[in-house]
């Protein structure tokens, strides 16, 4: 088979990195088997790719084969009495909530964008703004089927092939290709959530609000003005949200309809959002974003409670389509660190100060509350996470790279972890240090068992396990 025609330059979500690969469209499980055969014959490696929504190199495989799973996107079964859904890995979170919400259900864990696919969500074992309460995406999987590079097809659940269940989920697509997923949805009584918004004046207040607010909330998330220094370091705004109880919403059938969830395509009713990112581009620099952050902080001073559709509350990243293009030619990277609650404040104080001192501010800071989970390559801790977006330019690459290395050291010293849907620079040494030798050994052993010829590889895999 001549795969020359399939050679395509693929990008990460932040448009900051790309790598060429031979892209094969996958429509059926049989084609996954065929792709493994082809890869073996040609001496190439294979990575599965869903929506390409990772900020890093997890769905890139430079010079190898990439399986485009996005067309394998059928919802095979929806049991609205039990809230059980069985779907193929290319199904997006958007498809999922469109299917289940009108029947009174919601996906228990979602990312900040609804464009992600189930396969990708499981590979990275994503979390949402309710990680402290509902855990990760994988915790709501009842069962999945994966094809291993050995040719074996395995069905895994917490009780069946449990070792593979807890390692293929979180395994970054490096143990097998998931071809079918059954998940349990969460029952809801309204298409709306009730949101409390209130300001926090510094990092200590921010983390305290997350810590104290979590037990009484269904979702909690902090926004951080990453330009503020001194005594205002870490200031921002908290959004804590609750599901509505039965009877709170007088007309749940109406609010749960897809058309009443959809993000409006226009701003002020007239301005199409599809072109908004062009107007953001001139602001995508230190000055512009410091003004945006300041304006947002001033606006956040008003403490208020409001109701909002689920989709509008969760999928902030989809609010301005193509926003990631506004960062310009160098694109953006995200740096997300997870720290135990005891060390988070001091470590992030050090990191935020470093970034301001170096003149390399993050343009967007987001904090969340987390809890540990049982998955092998877990990123979770009993503590908090801080996600920071950085613009990449020709001139700042070396300085930013050096600073992120210092960040890595601070996080490691503080007993923290990283998340590989996000971090693009973390080295093999750092990954080994936070996963721990024993976990790495366990993972390599499973890798040898599932993939003895080393067919599954991504740029991410080579970076952190190479």
């Amino acid at each position: 088979m001549d795969i020359t025609q399939n050679f395509v330059q693929l990008e990460n979500f932040g448009h900051s990195h790309s790598a060429p690969a031979y892209v094969l469209k996958i429509n059926t499980p049989e084609e996954v088997h065929e792709a493994f055969h082809l890869a073996k014959k040609m001496g190439l490696t294979v990575t599965a790719r869903g929506a390409g929504r990772s900020y890093n190199d997890s769905a890139l495989n430079g010079g190898g084969i990439v399986l485009d799973m996005s067309d394998m996107n059928a919802i095979m079964r929806w049991d609205k009495a039990e809230g059980l859904i069985t779907a193929q890995p290319g199904v997006t979170l958007e498809q999922l909530w469109h299917k289940v919400e009108p029947d009174g259900w919601w996906t228990p864990v979602v990312s900040g964008t609804m464009r992600t696919t189930l396969g990708g969500c499981l590979g990275a074992n994503i979390h949402g703004k309710n990680n402290f309460k509902m855990g990760t995406f994988g915790e709501h999987v009842v069962e999945f089927t994966a094809i291993l590079p050995t040719g074996a097809e395995v069905t895994c659940s917490p009780n069946k092939n449990a070792d593979l269940f807890y390692s293929i989920i979180s395994g970054l697509g490096m143990l097998g290709i998931i071809v079918s997923i059954t998940m349990k949805m969460k029952h809801i009584y309204s298409g709306l959530v009730s949101v409390d918004a209130f300001p926090v004046r510094n990092l200590h207040e921010q983390l305290t609000a997350l810590q104290d607010g979590a037990p009484n909330s269904d979702y909690i998330v902090g926004w951080m003005d990453t330009f503020a220094g001194g005594s205002s370091l870490g200031r921002g705004q908290i959004h804590a949200a609750h599901y509505l109880h039965a009877g709170d919403d007088p007309n749940p059938r109406e609010t749960m309809k897809v058309q009443n969830q959809v993000l409006p395509p226009y701003i002020f009713g007239v301005f199409p959002k599809s072109i908004l990112h062009y107007f953001m581009t001139p602001f995508a620099n230190n000055l512009g974003w410091s003004m945006v952050n300041l304006a947002k902080y001033i606006a956040s001073q008003r403490k208020h409670t409001f109701r909002q559709p689920h989709a509008a509350f969760h999928f902030l990243l989809d609010y301005v389509p193509g926003w990631e293009f506004s960062y310009g030619k160098g694109g953006l990277i995200q740096y997300q660190s997870f720290l135990p609650k005891e060390t988070a404040e001091s470590a992030w104080t050090e990191m935020l100060r470093l970034s301001l001192k170096n003149g390399l501010p993050s343009y967007l800071g987001v904090t969340k509350r987390h809890r540990p989970d049982k998955f092998l390559l877990t990123h979770a801790v009993d503590g908090f996470s801080l996600a920071m977006d950085f613009k990449v330019t020709e001139g700042n690459r070396a300085r930013l790279g050096k600073m992120l290395q210092e960040f890595d050291e601070i996080v490691l010293r503080a007993g923290g972890r990283f998340y590989f849907a996000k971090n693009s620079e973390t080295s093999a040494d750092t990954a080994r240090a936070f996963y721990g030798e024993e976990t790495v050994k366990k993972f390599k052993k499973l890798k040898d068992r599932c993939d003895p010829h080393g067919l599954l590889e991504s740029d991410l895999y080579r970076r952190i396990f190479g």
Binding site: F7, G62, G401
Partner: protein
């Protein structure tokens, strides 16, 4: 791949903050090839060094990696006249490098015939190495670059391709073919975002000039100077460069010498 021997680890993967460029240099162990390899390594490239001379290409690889204190170059033994093996080796190299940004074809050979000597064995060898090998490699990478909508092809031709001359019709023909092939590639690929750079060196102080029958050096450059100029051309994504620049002027004159004069000249 029996004819290929790869050693050492692969170069580190590229990241957004360390967007390592990657180049394949075919004919890496020769005079210009080795100088360009060292230059690109200093510029941070990850390199695949391809050459017929296994010992030389492995020594160059080791030297580059030791200087860089990391794996920056991989070595591959390959005979460019084994045309059919180029696509497969290319695929292997792109997988090893994790991608490819530039392909440089600098493999070449020359034989200096006497003025009354018509040596088909040598002429065909020059066409095979200087032209056909280049077509095999560049023709293999072209569709990949075209599909990826990016990339750069650098072909080292020669001022000798600008006119057919009394001294070496076979060499002239091989380089004229190369220049013409590169022009065609450029016309095909520019619209797909691919840069095609034709490099026309004049005389270069390499082993070629030490061969029997070689002319006396005129305006000759060191290989290192040539490498610097090629890199400048690559970085600026130029179309055609003469190396050194003075040859552009010289060849402008020579290209315009009418045939009735040219056939009476002795160079």
């Amino acid at each position: 791949m029996s004819e290929t021997k790869k050693m050492m680890d692969k170069p580190a993967t590229a990241t957004p903050l360390n967007p390592r460029k990657r180049a394949i240099i075919v004919g890496a162990a020769g005079g210009i090839g080795a100088a360009l390899s060292r230059k690109l390594a200093r510029e941070g490239f990850a390199l695949a060094l391809v050459d017929f001379n296994q010992q030389a290409v492995e020594a160059l690889r080791d030297e580059i990696n030791q200087t860089a204190k990391e794996t920056r170059a991989l070595a591959y033994q390959h005979d460019v006249t084994k045309y059919n093996s180029a696509p497969e080796l290319l695929r292997r190299i792109i997988a090893d490098l994790g991608g490819v940004d530039s392909l440089v074809y600098v493999a070449g050979m020359i034989y200096f015939p006497a003025l009354d000597e018509y040596n088909f064995a040598q002429d065909s060898k020059m066409v095979e190495v200087n032209l056909l090998g280049g077509m095999a490699w560049m023709g293999a990478v072209a569709p990949l670059f075209q599909n990826a909508k990016r990339g750069q092809i650098v072909g080292v031709s020669s001022v000798a391709g600008d006119r057919g001359r009394i001294g070496n019709p076979g060499y002239n023909a091989s380089k004229a073919g190369m220049t013409n092939y590169l022009e065609g590639l450029r016309n095909r690929l520019t619209r797909h975002g691919v840069n095609v750079l034709t490099v026309k060196p004049g005389m270069v102080k390499t082993d070629m000039l030490k061969l029997p029958g070689a002319p006396k050096p005129v305006l000759a450059l060191e290989p290192e100077q040539v490498a610097d100029l090629i890199w400048d051309g690559m970085r600026a994504r130029k179309q055609t460069i003469y190396v050194a620049g003075i040859w552009k002027l010289v060849m402008l004159v020579i290209r315009h010498i009418p045939s009735f004069i040219f056939r009476r000249l002795n160079f």
